[in-house]
Amino acid sequence: MQTVPRTDRSIVGHWWWTVDRWTLACLLLMLAFGGLLSFAASPAIAERIGLTSFGLAQRHLIFLPLATIAMAIVSVLSVRLVRRIAILGFLASLLFSVLVLVAGTEMNGATRWIGVLGFSLQPSEFMKPCFAIVAAWLFTLQKETPSVPGNLISFLLFGLVVTLLILQPDLGQTLLIAAVWGMQLVLAGLSIYWVAGLVMAGAVGMVFAYTLLPHVKTRIDIFLDPAGNDAYQVTQSILSFSKGGLFGRGPGEGSIKSALPDAHADFVFAVIGEEFGAIACFIIVFLVMIVVLRGFLRMMKEEDFFITLAASGILLQFGLQAVINMSSSLNLIPTKGMTLPFISYGGSSLLAMAFGMGAVLAFTRRRPSPRFSHFVP
């Protein structure tokens, strides 16, 4: 730290002294662990889908530096520039989400991926952080300039996004985006009665999903009685934590990755538990916890309306995804396909999350004056 003097006003020097270095360190650690884990968890899956043993690990290692650089660059940018990128990104992901429905690749009964430049892209992943920023901006517009119907536009966009996601169908992402948008709405100052009403609506929605969507019903049934139903994944997942114990069976020594098709993504936490042990899991939980709690505590003191909403939204998305992923693996909640941020395999998820957390880093940088207009996009 002594190598960068505080008086250094270059971009890097300025960035170094203003960025939240603790959060940055935690995120980099998680990225590194994800890279390490891709060697342990993905060969079994790579071999099953006909790639060479380390085919998936190699892909992950291509995305890893890209994600790190993307996060670093975004974190240097000004709030306004980040917002502009997010707005463009949101429009692009809307376009691609429509394209996915027309020309997407179907996998496991859902159409979520589209081929772009030789990579299969999942637009919904990019939609999440971009929409959080766009929604925050719209709420802010309405607040600062009441003549602009920001809340209404944000509501309409939310409806559009949810419709596109349900059509794929991708219930997990829908719930996540709804949770983020809902929290932003609450933070924006929605009355406590409306909050209660939204929670009720969410509960009713869940009941409808349970009764109307068969795959949601089976997942919840399995959660309620893992042994009685075809709870193969959850059974294997829970078993892997028991097998791993405190210190794990050693990298590459686990067996769950060959038993579960989603071991490198949705059940990566179980692979950590089996091969690296509960201590490594505790460390992951701890890293996520530092990022999330530190971010939110900082937001409590943040005076800028837009930054509060945007950063909180992305932090919630990050934290919620991690909590849902880990809780599914531990059978605390019904199984929900959700990646563990920065650790799970998946290029779209990694890059999108890197952009989102880069934005959070940019938003949380110490700046001399919190007052500037949000009217310009």
Binding site: G189, L190, S191, L239, S255, G273
Partner: protein, 583 residues
Amino acid sequence: MSELGPESRLHKKGIRGVSYRLFHLPGFEPAFTRSKKFRLGMVVLIFCLSFTAIASKLFYLSFYIDSDTKQFQRIASKGGFNRTRADLVDRNGIVLATNLLKPSLFADPSQILDVDEAAYHLASVLDDLDLSKVRRQLSGKGKFVWIKRNLTPRQKQEINELGLPGLYFRNEQQRVYPLGALTAHVVGMTDIDNNGVAGVERSLDAMLNSTSAPVELSIDVRVQHAVQEAVQHAITKFSAVAGAGIVLDAKTSEVLGMVSLPTFDPYDPNKITDDQRFNRATLGMYEFGSVFKIFTAAMALESGKVRMSDTFDATNPIKISRFEIRDFEDGEKRPLSLREVIKYSSNIGAAKIATKVGSRNQQAFLKRLGLLNPIAIELPEIGKPQFPETWREINTMTISFGHGLSVSLLHTVNAMASLVNGGKLHHPTLIKREAPSLIKGDTVVSEKTSDQVRDLLRMVVREGTGKNAAVKGYLVGGKTGTAEKAKRNGYAEKSLLSSFIASYPMDDPRYVVMVTVDEPKPIKESYGYATGGWVAAPAVGQIIENTAPILGVEPRGTMASVQETKKAIGQAVSFQVTGDVAQ
């Protein structure tokens, strides 16, 4: 913030008014910073609770394994929890018993969707499945039932291809016996849970489960094979019902070969008959007849009351109470020396010798040889010798020529070993001795008596009833025995137990060999005889001829006998290579 108060906007019309009423009206609070802290605080609280729940469950899963998880563990187990039972090997390291991992099928009835369908499909793959039993098992309440153990890989594949839920495999260790029936009575077998139920498998059960190093038996499979071939040959040739044979190390009492025929296939426990299971070498108690005359002679010489040259009048049969003791085909009908009593196998002579030594001495001597107690060996199949409770004079007389005292084949062989090896009795064993030279043994006869016994045995093979056991170069000595089998109403003359016991080489005995054949029928080749000398002696000769070169016993005598030995070695080698003893 807007300079106009919110109220002024309430009256606006159009879309803006609607949006304002929708999102501003019942209350976007103006005091953003105050309520924001509380609301963010709630989010932080929810996260804290979530992280606590995750950490607790993590802690719980990695430290405690509750019954649910044990259930999962059992279901998802891929084996490796089974204990590994130690191998059994012969004295040269040939595997007699080892373990193979085989899949076993079990079901979790609570996961079976359609019991009838599952049972029907299972029965189509596993043809010997009891359909109604499986249906009952699958409709049960529990979460674990064995459907079938020890499947083949092909069956496992076929069951997987059925694609039925609720069926799982667990790899279990199954005991395999590479030599199968050849060593069945010695090695024994285990039940499906790998608990020893017969043979060494049972008597050494605890030891086999506690060690992982192979347990070395004293058996030599080459000798075992030679004994089985010879006994089987005799049984077939003389249309006998059964037979048994033992080769014992004369100096250490290690059993090198022990065969009981008919034998059984340890892989098919349900098809084993009682007759096959019966171990005729250790569990079967027999009166071996004239074989016992050599014990009588040894007893007499050891007692000092009788010398080699003493004569006993065998002219007339002995009449005692309502019995009459006579010689085979009326014998020599003249006074016989002790030597001649053994040579011509005279019952009258043996009875007179025993009477001279006395009943008490006879009992004491037989007890010393271990013939009156169950024999101690590493097998659960051990019989108890049978003898009259009150030992009268008539018992003394009949026991002197091997009637009225039932012992096992192993008893007889082990007692003989002590008489020829210089007088030391050892416990027989099926375990390879670590240091054979260190074992001590109890002195049962003097070295001088032992020398005289060897002389008598050698004479029987050179000049007497045991000529058929002679093998050139190996100085075989032995004694025949032909007993009428005791039936319910006395002795049946046509049901014979024909035996021959031998030791070689007589100048320094290394091995004792005994063969007994149950109910052999006379054939033309043996001139109408089915006696020990015709039935069992050739079998013993065959065993010695085939095994002596393998066991490294140097042949004695002329170049001619050496030539013959080389031929025998050639045969032995070809047996080793091909595993086929075609004589």
